[in-house]
């Protein structure tokens, strides 16, 4: 069952395309890496898939933003004023069970009640990921959001990636790496308007 289907999708701002996606289908539980140099349009692609930006042209079908749909996480995640728990509860739309489960998945429960301004960067990222998880997404779009995790966070996150086959995960990265084992790799080609193409046959290596 696919959660995102894009065909001849042009993404950009104010009617101007900055990148295109020829063909991309993301199924439930898929793992996808979108790689490319800085400025190649990775963020624009992810935000469009997350329904935060309207497509410039082409077809995009699938889930919308919000709970049960597509959740986007910024490279340096924005946490709202309050405690970590407050933030995760926002993502869970008040459902305390979902919030606690998500915190446990990221091993963030011990420090969740602290105010976000007292947290280290690694802790902030864990809270942001927990918040996204708490919304029970169908697809998570992480804009390099797993790059700032500390040691414990990385371990917890790898566990999530490995076990949560109900969630599709799309990660934007500089290069294909081993963080998402078994992921399909796509690359944004160089050029004035980069095109996202699959790297055929390549699966992200197992650690």
């Amino acid at each position: 069952m696919s959660v995102v289907r894009a065909r001849d999708l042009a993404v950009g701002y104010d009617g101007r395309a900055v990148a295109t996606v020829a063909q991309l289908t993301i199924g439930s539980g898929d793992r996808v890496i979108v790689a490319g140099p800085n400025g190649s349009g990775k963020t624009t692609v992810l935000k469009t898939l997350a329904r935060l930006l309207a497509p410039v042209a082409g077809t995009l079908e699938g889930v919308g933003a919000g709970p049960g749909g597509a959740i986007y996480v910024h490279p340096s995640p924005f946490l709202f004023e309050g405690s970590g728990l407050d933030n995760v509860l926002l993502g869970a739309h008040g459902a305390r069970d979902d919030a606690m489960q998500a915190l446990d998945a990221l091993d963030a429960a011990p420090f969740a009640r602290a105010h976000v301004r007292t947290m280290s960067n690694g802790q902030r990222q864990r809270i942001a990921l927990a918040r996204a998880l708490a919304a029970r997404p169908a697809v998570l779009l992480l804009d390099e959001a797993d790059s700032g995790l500390d040691g414990d966070g990385q371990a917890a996150w790898r566990q999530v990636v490995a076990t949560r086959r109900d969630i599709a995960i799309v990660v934007a990265a500089h290069r294909t790496n081993g963080e998402v084992p078994g992921a399909r790799c796509y690359v944004l080609s160089a050029g004035a308007v980069p095109v996202l193409v699959p790297v055929p046959g390549a699966l992200s290596p197992e650690p």
């Binding site: 935000k47 597509a70 986007y72 919304a135």
Partner: protein, 227 residues
């Protein structure tokens, strides 16, 4: 400076008149601020999201309205609330309620315009996160306004300072009635024309103290730290 010492004596001995007048001033301005906040914060927030020519026009109108002359507001509302005016049946003129209405009209543009600016200044990531998490419109308003609360609190304090120290609307709409609608500013103006300088000075000292306290609060670490 016997007038000054008389003034201090009036304050210190708790002259009932003086404290009643102070209470009326605070009541009217706080009520007006409450109403202006309830209406102005959501209005500023909504305008921060709106696009297009109409929204831009309303925004510049709001900014212009922050500088409304108080006597003009007083006069226009007077004709509206007068017994022979459209809202005369409400019998509001020359009551504290009329003064609250006048001061709300003065405070509302300030609250709305500064909320608009404060919300627009939030990082795009705040809006995007709220949208991506699929927060309901009400939750989004509460959360984003909360993010901007430092600047919004400053706006509220500024609005309060403006209405607390104004004279034009208060005297035209309140009628400066003894025991009912006399405020610090209206009585200072009145007492001076009557020749009672000691009382005018006493009230002036109180007015100044409160206005300074509010303005100090705006710049205080307590408020700035919350931004």
């Amino acid at each position: 400076m016997t007038a000054l010492s008389d003034a201090l004596r009036l304050i210190v001995t708790g002259d009932a008149d003086v404290w009643h007048i102070t209470a009326v001033s605070l009541f009217v301005s706080l009520a007006a601020l409450t109403l202006a906040t309830a209406a102005g914060v959501p209005l500023g927030y909504a305008l921060a999201h709106a696009r297009g020519r109409a929204a831009r026009s309303v925004s510049s109108l709001l900014h212009t309205l922050t500088a409304l002359p108080t006597v003009v507001v007083g006069l226009l509302l007077y004709f509206t609330l007068s017994a022979s005016g459209p809202l005369g049946w409400m019998e509001l003129l020359y009551t504290r309620a009329a003064m609250v209405v006048g001061q709300t009209v003065l405070a509302l543009p300030i609250v709305a315009a500064l909320t608009l600016v404060a919300v627009q200044r939030l990082p795009a990531a705040a809006f995007e996160t709220a949208a991506s998490l699929g927060l309901s419109p009400m939750t989004r308003l509460v959360v984003l306004v909360g993010e901007a609360r430092g600047a919004i609190v400053s706006a509220l304090l500024l609005a309060f300072a403006r209405v607390f120290t104004e004279l034009g609307a208060a005297v035209i709409l309140g009628g400066n009635i003894r025991g009912e609608t006399r405020t610090l500013t209206t009585v200072i103006a009145l007492e001076h024309t009557k020749g009672d300088d000691a009382r005018a000075l006493a009230l002036g000292v109180i007015l100044l103290a409160i206005a300074l306290a509010v303005n100090t609060l705006v710049h205080s670490r307590w408020v700035r730290g919350a931004r």
